[in-house]
């Protein structure tokens, strides 16, 4: 049997309780429905989930950029690793990550029991969800997909590939990005079409066999060298490197990428030293060298490696 309780008789209650009950009646105050509070709570958690998901997307793109930006070749484009980092860092995604972290913290703080936890716990747990979520997304190749699709749909957004292209499609600084077209009979001069649709005659005397194979593979490649004739578009190649890595790149591959680049630059450096010695012994100081080999020893990247 349910317990019966006495209703409060206003005559025996306090003045305040009478006043409150009168106000409740006269202002027709009713308790707000439970589902409204449930909805508010759901909205707060949804906003938290939204910020964590957007945070995870930003982490996925950050991981993709971290994996695929060609740190291994930084001497080819920049004087220091720091200046390279400053140029390739995806500031927009770092900003999104920070903002979403703050938004997630704000939402979590406003959940029913959010106040019980200190700021650092709320912040770290939200960021951790984003980081783990971002790693999972990147594992399935979401970083690349988001980066490229956003660049296609939003002209203002620059993907990693576009920013790499901006750094490497600079013939005046000895860098080209493009695809092999044809080669001459002696197989020493290749015709190459860059990303600006200009056709170049690439001199390959100083290239290794593997570089030539890579150049003639038909894939997009990066060519490091020097422009010998800007008007006729003659280019002296010193190294050929794959354009972008596949979706998943291992640490081993990144190390190999770096090793190949360093080896190539040191080869040019040593060759340059040998040729300069030969020049001093055989030719007059005022006379220019009668051969094209050795141009690669003067590359900015080679000089940067000396120091």
């Amino acid at each position: 049997m349910k317990p019966q309780i006495k209703k409060q008789n206003n005559n025996h209650g306090s003045e305040l309780s009478s006043a409150v009950l009168n106000r409740i009646k006269s202002e027709k105050v009713t308790p707000t429905a439970r589902f409204i509070f449930t909805c508010i709570n759901c909205m707060v958690w949804s906003a938290w989930a939204f910020s964590v998901i957007i945070g995870a997307i930003s982490v996925a793109v950050l991981l993709y950029v971290g994996d695929h930006a060609r740190f291994a070749l930084y001497e080819a484009t920049h004087t220091t690793p720091l200046s390279f980092f400053i140029e390739v860092l995806p500031y927009i995604w770092i900003t999104v990550f920070v903002l979403m972290g703050a938004f997630a913290y704000f939402n979590m703080k406003h959940t029913k029991s959010g106040y019980k936890y200190p700021m650092w716990q709320l912040l770290i747990s939200s960021l951790l969800f984003s980081i783990v979520g971002g790693a999972v997304l990147q594992f399935f190749g979401a970083g690349y997909l988001i980066d490229t699709q956003l660049a296609k749909r939003m002209p203002i957004y620059k993907s990693l590939e576009q920013s790499e292209q901006r750094m490497w499609q600079k013939p005046e600084e000895g860098r080209l990005v493009g695809v092999f077209d044809t080669m001459d009979e002696k197989e020493e001069v290749y015709t190459f079409v860059d990303r600006s649709d200009h056709s170049w005659r690439i001199q390959t005397k100083e290239l290794r066999v593997v570089d030539r194979e890579l150049l003639s593979s038909g894939n997009i490649v990066r060519v490091l060298g020097t422009t010998t004739d800007a008007v006729n578009r003659d280019f002296h190649a010193c190294g050929v490197f794959p354009w972008m890595f596949d979706a998943n790149v291992s640490i081993k591959e990144m190390k190999k990428d770096r090793r190949i680049f360093v080896e190539r630059m040191y080869e040019h450096m040593e060759k340059g030293d040998r040729l300069r010695g030969l020049e001093r012994e055989v030719f007059d100081k005022n006379e220019t060298m009668p051969f094209e080999e050795g141009l690669c020893a003067n590359l900015a990247a080679v000089k940067r490696m000396k120091f």
């Binding site: 049997m1 317990p3 019966q4 309780i5 006495k6 209703k7 409060q8 206003n10 209650g13 306090s14 305040l16 309780s17 009478s18 006043a19 409150v20 009950l21 106000r23 409740i24 009646k25 202002e27 105050v29 009713t30 308790p31 707000t32 429905a33 439970r34 409204i36 509070f37 029913k112 029991s113 106040y115 019980k116 936890y117 200190p118």
Partner: protein, 193 residues
Amino acid sequence: MEKDFHDMNDEEIVSMALRDQAFFSHIVLRYEDKLSRYIMRLGVRNAEDRQDTLQDIFIKIYKNLNSFDTSLSFSSWVYRIAHNEAISAYRKKNVRPEGHLIDEGNERVAREMSTCTGAEKKFDEKVNAEEIARVLEKVDDKYKSVIILRFFEHKEYEEISDILKIPIGSVGTLIHRGKKQIKDKIDTKQLHV
């Protein structure tokens, strides 16, 4: 079987009040004295303002009865609403508290403050109730609320955490710093005297 409301806990009365508003008066009766003292300590000194604020508090409690989270104690939830309303009322009126903050049980409060942490013996010895009353008015608001809840309303750390919506760790820190500020202010005062 007839059960008197004195034998019922808050949660039972809440569920009754949700079905029949008349039962809400039991909640009012149960909390009006406690909340009146509390909001007065927070700075709502004028009797009329206090009555108005109390009415607003109970109307708000009634409106939000369905949002009461049973993982909290009802008392903490009521104090939370009262705290927020009192602060708003205080800000609206922008009235500085006047007179003595502690009007009853001064000696007991002083004793409690001094025995709360044995480590601060120097502080304990110097503390006297009247000084606390005078000095507490000059203590930063962030410390004042926790000090009032802890030493005047005798709330546990967890309850203070629920009322002020701050982590328990922060409650401890604020109490410690609040006590230190009171001690510093008392020391400064004595120096000037």
